[in-house]
Symmetry: C2
Subunit: 405 residues, 2 copies
């Protein structure tokens, strides 16, 4: 009897959760499971703002995929997907290989969305992946290291612009604000020369978050020296910095570092492969399948699910991606065995905690507002939970966050 072939693309939160659940639920003889990932490691994309700021070593944010998969049940390929052929049910890989599938799980993650703003792709960084995070960190350090070597010191080398005051933007600002004094000490830079500026086009910081908590966050970050330019749009990024506009007021901000943290979209492969999509995200059916494709599941940042209460999409979060992975694995088992019933996916939102640096945070957890060190503790528990869900207690011990205040 021929075993059905399951191919999982991407070892992020969604894909890896699907894999580890599937390897528990299916016997060796029930299916042929292949996981493809660009790197031999999984990284915690929700921790990358720390690696980017330099407050956490990049290596702490990742672990080897082979540390959590069962090699007797899962083939693991380190390769990059170049295209998906839905008709022929094949996936092409960059090293020349091709996989065919009976069931496909697309969990290819996010990309930066620059909304066509001029110069952003060329002159701004984006916390897109582990490589990008390391580059941002080194770029900032290089700016600080260069400052004192120049006869005519350029204070704007020490200006860091963060585009966007959403979740990623705010979390990154919190780390930067903590990191700046360390950088000043390491490179003999006067603290007062450093500027950390957040530019946000929307009229508020952290839209959708409780206003009281938002106020707390803004106050805390401002106390640490962050400047907010709210209701201000980035019009262009240049070699020298950015050009912003508030109402009709246009201003140039010279900056040695510009990090765009204001938009993500689904993977372009989803678009290129002809799935019906909105910016690389596919509005999946209740069982997480692409419309018209009973053999293709889409989880994580490439899937789109509407929150009926507010008639808007759920934001792409690790929490939802992991929950999708669980359901996806269950549904795949049902299909492989040809028995049981598919389970519909409903997000179970336990809350949301936004870090303001490793010593502070804000959040709503099980409906209760938290802030300060209590929220910061919660945040670390959330981070550890992600490790636990995928790799169990061993992984938490190895990579978890225990610097509890």
């Amino acid at each position: 009897m021929r075993k059905p072939k399951i191919v999982i693309l991407g070892a992020g939160y969604g894909g890896l959760m699907t894999t580890v659940r599937l390897q528990k639920q299916l016997g060796v003889n029930e299916a042929d499971i292949t996981l493809v990932n660009k790197n031999n490691y999984h990284y915690e994309s929700t921790w990358l703002h720390e690696a980017s700021a330099g407050t956490l070593p990049a290596d702490r944010t990742r672990y080897k995929v082979t540390d959590v998969i069962d090699k007797s049940k899962v083939h693991f390929l380190v390769d990059t997907v170049t295209s998906i052929n839905r008709e022929e049910k094949t996936v092409a890989l960059s090293k020349g290989g091709e996989l065919n599938y009976d069931y496909l799980v697309v969990s290819l993650g996010y990309e930066a969305e620059t909304f066509g703003i001029k110069g952003l792709k060329e002159h701004a960084f984006s916390i897109a992946n582990l490589n990008a995070a390391r580059q941002i960190r080194e770029h900032i350090e290089y700016q600080f290291a260069t400052y004192n070597t120049e006869k005519d010191r350029r204070d704007d080398r020490l200006t860091i612009v963060v585009g966007g005051a959403g979740f990623t933007g705010i979390e990154f600002l919190g780390e930067l604000a903590n990191r700046a004094p360390e950088l000043c000490q390491e490179f003999d830079v006067p603290q007062e020369k450093v500027r950390i500026i957040c530019v946000e086009a929307a009229p508020t910081v952290l839209p959708g978050f409780d206003p009281e908590l938002v106020e707390y966050a803004v106050n805390q970050l401002e106390k640490k020296g962050v400047e907010f330019k709210i209701g201000t749009a980035i019009k262009e990024a240049t070699e020298e910095g950015i050009i912003v506009a508030k109402d009709d007021q246009v201003e140039e901000i010279k900056a040695g570092t510009v990090v765009w943290a204001a938009g993500v979209r689904g993977n372009h492969l989803v678009e290129d492969s002809g799935f019906e999509n909105m910016r690389g995200r596919v509005k999946v059916d209740p069982y997480l399948r692409a419309p018209g494709h009973d053999d293709v599941f889409i989880v994580g940042d490439c899937s789109l699910i509407i929150n009926e209460e507010i008639n808007r999409p759920y934001p792409p979060t690790a929490q939802i991606a992991m929950q999708q992975g669980e359901i996806c694995a269950k549904n795949l088992a049902v299909l492989v065995r040809g028995q049981g019933e598919l389970e519909a996916f409903t997000p179970d939102l336990k809350g949301s905690v936004c870090s303001l640096g490793e010593d502070d945070a804000i959040g709503v957890v099980f409906g209760r507002k938290v802030w300060g060190s209590k929220a910061s503790f919660m945040k670390k528990m959330v981070d550890n939970r992600a490790l636990f869900m995928i790799g169990g207690p061993g992984l938490v011990m190895k990579k978890g966050k225990f610097n509890i205040l």
Copy 2:
């Protein structure tokens, strides 16, 4: 009675040794001693190749000047000397101040000498001081961090060219060779993509060193992956790398990092101030004074002393600078007191050890050849001795090297 004013310019090995000896030899009422230094710290310039490669934190190579001077006897100014007026016996400082002196000690250190090679100043780094060392380290790390972020990976980002196979060049190569595998691990770069190339115009590595030891050094470094291009001159440095020539063969070497370590000269201020000099170095009299200036002592890299045995100048080393500082302090005490006799300076060469990374070295110590871990141990003792001579056992404990193999 008016106290004579002694002004010491620079807190490198020569100037700082002069200061700490002088403060021991003279009473508070005998002289008015002022030390001027660009930074509030002294750095071990012979350790900067380690900070540049990233094998030693930059902060480990320095200590505060105030940690070793006696504040009751020495005024310490953090300022940059902008000119010396020999006629009026004054020194102008960048913050607008002016000092007058009865006795001046010029110990302003070295600068890179690029011999007019096109593009070197713009496109090559030089291990000129602590700031430069930090910048080189961060530049190299940024190159490694950037490698994996680019779609079309540029292997030449991972090429480091070191211009010069003299003492500094070889010591820096040793550190780079040790550092490369660490960088590869940290940034997920395949080791075989990294190239460390030494370009030397002279027909041999480490001219003047024992040929057997030189052979050992070259073999050891080659084993660690260093490529030597000997008898090859750098013709030009460009944005992309360097252009070299061997005989009539011209070659372009693309490189993300070029570090020029092939020449130093004395401080340009010595030249600007009208002292008789050769490339910023003054051929001092036997008592270390500038010719025609009985009130101006010159020690360290700005002084020139001929080794009569070979009729060539002694190389500018920390060992000689510190010995000069001792004699300079003695002679100043004689002049201040108007009694005793000036002492002539003769270098007392105890030997020379060239590091090949923290685990290996070559050298001649008290006339005996040493190499390998024994030489490496000797090197650390030499480094610790410099700390001991200036700051005593406390400074050795604080900043010394004890990573003995």
